[in-house]
């Protein structure tokens, strides 16, 4: 039976009726139109569906939407603010840290969480932080460079 829930996504509250078996990924993409969060494996093994909840990276394909009311959910659409890209987004662009772009939203959000917790991560720490985000195109090199550079800029 559908329940009305309040999801706070990128600072805005959305009230929607959802069935309990809907994942946060499905609700974000299908009900709220946040298609930036991607479905790739849907079983928690690739990181493409990563969102930040209260600043922590989590895999939205394995979260029930109804369990995350009134939490701060950040999707890729919320990274740029006031029409300006976040420094990580700019760094990804200038370093060529994406090719097909499908893993990119999850990757950028994971990087954001890392830099908030650890403003000056070593290369090893960056590799560990993104180790749950699979990229098939870039070989990770420029992603690591982009995150490093964004950290230095802060």
């Amino acid at each position: 039976m559908k329940k009305i829930i309040r999801l706070k996504v990128n600072g805005e509250i959305h009230e929607i009726a959802v069935d309990p078996w809907r994942t946060l990924l499905e609700v974000l993409r299908e009900d709220l139109g946040f298609t930036g969060t991607k479905e790739s494996c849907d079983l928690g093994t690739c990181g493409a569906c990563t969102v930040l909840i209260n600043g922590e990276p989590m895999l939205s394909c394995l979260l029930l939407a109804c369990e995350w009311e009134d939490q701060e959910i950040l999707t890729i659409e919320g990274m740029a603010t006031g029409g300006r890209l976040h420094p990580l987004q700019e760094s990804f662009i200038s370093h060529g840290a994406f090719q097909c772009g499908f893993c990119t939203p999850g990757m950028i959000l994971t990087a954001k969480a890392l830099l908030e917790e650890n403003p000056h991560p070593s290369e090893e720490e960056i590799r560990k932080a993104i180790s749950g985000n699979i990229c098939r195109c870039t070989g990770y090199t420029k992603i690591i460079d982009a995150i490093s550079a964004a950290a230095l800029k802060k």
């Binding site: 969060t37 090719q99 098939r136 195109c137 870039t138």
Partner: protein, 773 residues
């Protein structure tokens, strides 16, 4: 097409960000599964759980009656027309929805469209299929034996064979000082693109079809839909949105696209079908596993004399790209190092395994693994340095090959030398820590070729607008490699306008002129040249008008900084904008580039591609003898790209390829038992993560190809060709263990360390001074 190598470019050669950069980092980029249409239905596919069976009966009645189900189709609801890679009967072996028989686990037998995904899934469970199971065959060598179950009636399982010869291999072996023979096997591998296949169709009342698909080639998809649906191509519009990776796996039509369109026709509503990750592993083509028996004869000093190659390619249940593998393996084997005498025998074999198709390099990574591994073994046997033996035999520009390829530009020697230098090869080879090793391998690939049609071309329209900006209309498919951006860079340079003033509309079969797609590393070369031709056409028109207005001749004009000047008279000029206004407000340039190449003949000869790329990689590893694990520490990759149109793109291709190669060398394997894929998930199919990937040093070699746009050549596949062999060679250097079956897993290393080094079959002729293994 050649530009002076000394000319200073303002856009070409710069590390410019991609034109789609903002869309991708903000989540605005729309991939097929992100698209929504009003009243859109969700489609799902029913797949066979059996590897080989006759379909006796399919009862869809319960599914049709389920509330929310709008359409159900089986093979009997289709025009029952087969399709294949080439429009030739021998290639067209597959129904887009199985009609009488299934040939692999996962083959599509029915499809439903419903109001939502839950209902569609429920409907699938209500479809009853009655099968009569047939004996199946899973090993290609078994499939070739008489009496083996026949995968396709009326055709031998060894459905295609090719023999090629050049010179006299037997004589060559007799005159060799040293001959070595080894057997290598490679595994089935998945593309594992982050975006799974997706299709969204819409059919309007007049019967006009629009399909959005995660495809590498809208035009080939359009061709296949027309063929299988009996609808004229002109009534089918295929659009490629953003695509999340392809690597060759999205070259061909698959049942989901066909079913999406047919269900849309049937229901009158848009239908979206998206593969789950499991369907992606099982139901999309895999890389061909290959058995290679390779025999090579050399002179005492390491000069290659003869090669003989026998190969069996497991093409799975349907042919698709199988035959290209045979030609490809032979050509790639014989175009990298100078080999005066060659003999080749190859078989492409049907089995009841999942379908195998094109994947990055298409036969090249496999044969390169075998050939470059063996070259290292020969070097070891003869006491020759692996870099030296490669320098000695490396093909050079101007030389021809057994396949009669014309090597117009070749940076192979330079690539080897640069890798050796940066890796400090001489010093490091003799002085590494225990269990550390360094290995080298080389690679090559084509830049397009006449693989699908008798022509290999690309067409572009350029619209030069009143505000002095240019819009490119190109059929070429950017699947993440950055082709859209490169084309914009080329056009910006040609018009001497800022990169930001060029935009592109691409890969829409109705709106953009034809380009056959992204395969064979053809994008930059073919579409880039087409852009140059179109730009020159547009400029020609503009210059003609300006010459009239400025009362001068076309030859006296030049275009710089958005202005058309009279040469030597800076006061006389018109802005590009004014010039376009003078041309009635819009200029349309057109260009079609057709590469001057040949379709190979039955002897495997013919210059198939307008240019060839080369490269070398040095891999540094540490092998943990106790755990059998191989840490890939660093890879130096030097690649001849002709000219680096955008160094950032090139580095990205090198880096991505190396990690994909690492995956195939050490981690990835589709585990298939009796046709069933045991690991159809990112959990169990081991794509390297950021904790496995190495340090990478990408090096760019420029050779200024005479035919390439600004001298550039294709890249995306040659960068992956050397990696596997470089790693295998490094492992051997580290611990004296030579693994000849991919992937090089910890158990193989552990068991070989324990059991001693494996012995090859070798023959020495003429009292060679080579070392015994």
């Amino acid at each position: 097409m050649e530009e002076s190598p000394l000319k200073e470019y303002s856009v070409i050669g710069k590390r410019l960000p991609r034109t789609d950069a903002m869309a991708k980092v903000t989540g605005e980029a729309k991939y097929t599964d992100d698209l929504r249409l009003p009243q859109m239905l969700i489609g799902k596919l029913l797949r066979s759980p059996l590897p080989h069976a006759k379909i006796l009966h399919i009862d869809t009645s319960k599914a049709e009656r389920l509330v929310g189900v709008k359409g159900v189709i089986t093979g009997l609801d289709t025009p029952r027309k087969k399709y294949g890679l080439l429009m030739r009967e021998s290639f067209m072996d597959r129904y887009p929805l199985a009609v009488d028989k299934v040939r692999f686990i996962g083959e599509e037998v029915a499809a439903v469209a419903a109001v939502d995904e839950d209902t569609a899934l429920e409907a699938l469970d209500l479809i009853r299929v009655e099968y009569r199971e047939l004996p199946a065959v899973f090993h290609p060598e078994e499939a070739m034996k008489p009496g083996a179950p026949s995968v396709h009636e009326g055709k031998a399982n060894a459905v295609m064979s090719r023999s090629f010869e050049y010179g006299d291999a037997e004589k060559g072996f007799r005159s060799s000082d040293y001959v070595r023979e080894d057997k290598f096997t490679t595994q089935a591998v998945a593309h594992a693109c982050m975006e799974t296949r997706a299709a969204l169709s819409m059919v309007d009342f007049s019967g006009k079809v629009t399909l959005w698909s995660s495809t590498q080639s809208p035009f080939i998809l359009c061709r296949d839909l027309a063929q299988t649906l009996n609808i004229p191509k002109a009534k089918i519009r295929v659009i490629k949105p953003f695509v999340g990776g392809g690597f060759g796996g999205k070259m061909e039509m698959l049942p989901l696209e066909f079913c999406s369109v047919l269900l849309s026709i049937k229901t009158g509503k848009p239908v979206r079908i998206v593969h789950t990750r499991e369907e992606e592993f099982i139901g999309t083509p895999q890389r061909h596993p290959v058995i290679i028996q390779l025999k090579t004869g050399v002179k005492r000093d390491g000069t290659l004399v003869a090669k003989e190659c026998y190969t069996i390619v497991d093409t799975g249940a349907y042919l698709t790209h199988g035959p290209m593998m045979l030609y490809g393996i032979y050509t790639f084997l014989t175009m990298l190092y100078r080999v005066p005498n060659t003999k080749f025998q190859g078989y492409c074999v049907y089995t009841n395994n999942p379908v195998r198709g094109a994947m990055r390099g298409h036969g090249n990574p496999q044969i390169r693994f075998a050939d470059d591994s063996q070259l290292d073994l020969i070097a070891k046997d003869l006491g020759i340095d692996p870099v030296e033996i490669r320098l000695k035999n490396a093909i050079r520009a101007g030389e021809s090959t057994p396949s009669r390829l014309r090597i117009n530009s070749c940076g192979l020697t330079e690539a080897i030398e640069r890798c050796a230098e940066v890796s400090n090869w001489k010093e490091v080879r003799g002085s590494l820590k225990r269990n550390n090793g360094v290995g080298i391998a080389c690679g090559d690939h084509i830049s397009g070729g006449k693989l699908y049609e008798a022509y290999d071309s690309s067409s572009v329209f350029l619209k030069v607008e009143e505000d002095g900006k240019v819009i490119i209309l190109s059929g070429a498919s950017d699947i993440g490699q950055g082709l859209d951006s490169i084309l914009c860079q080329i056009v910006a340079e040609e018009f001497a306008i800022p990169y930001e003033d060029v935009s592109i509309v691409a890969a829409d079969s109705e709106v953009t002129p034809q380009d056959l797609g992204t395969y064979g590393s053809r994008g930059t070369f073919l579409a880039g040249n087409a852009c140059l031709l179109a730009a020159r056409d547009a400029k020609g028109q503009i210059f003609k008008t300006v010459a009239e207005k400025l009362e001068t001749t076309v030859e006296d004009l030049e275009l710089k900084n958005g202005r058309i000047h009279v040469k030597g008279d800076p006061q006389r000029w018109m802005s590009l904008s004014e010039a376009v206004v003078a041309c009635n407000g819009s200029v349309l340039g057109r260009g079609t580039y057709e590469s001057n190449t040949e379709v190979p003949d039955r002897k495997g000869q013919g210059n198939i591609s307008p240019a060839y790329s080369f490269g070398a990689q040095v891999a540094e590893v540490e092998v943990h003898a106790d755990t059998g694990k191989v840490d890939l520490l660093r890879v130096i990759g030097a690649h001849d790209v002709g000219v680096a149109l955008n160094p950032m793109h090139i580095e990205g291709q090198i880096e991505g390829s190396i990690v994909m190669g690492q995956g195939q060398a050490l981690y990835e394997e589709l585990l298939i038992r009796k046709g069933l894929t045991l690991n159809p998930s990112f959990l169990e199919y081991k794509v390297p993560t950021s904790l496995e990937s190495p340090q990478i040093v990408p090096l760019i070699v420029e050779t200024h190809d005479p035919e390439g746009p600004y001298g550039a050549k294709g890249l995306g596949e040659s960068t992956m060709v050397p990696t596997i062999a470089a790693i295998a060679n490094a492992v051997d250097h580290a611990i004296g263990v030579r693994v000849k079956e991919l992937p090089i897993t910890p158990i193989k290393i552990s068991e070989m360390i324990e059991g001693g080094i494996s012995k090859p079959v070798m023959k020495k002729i003429g009292g060679s001074s080579g070392k015994e293994e």
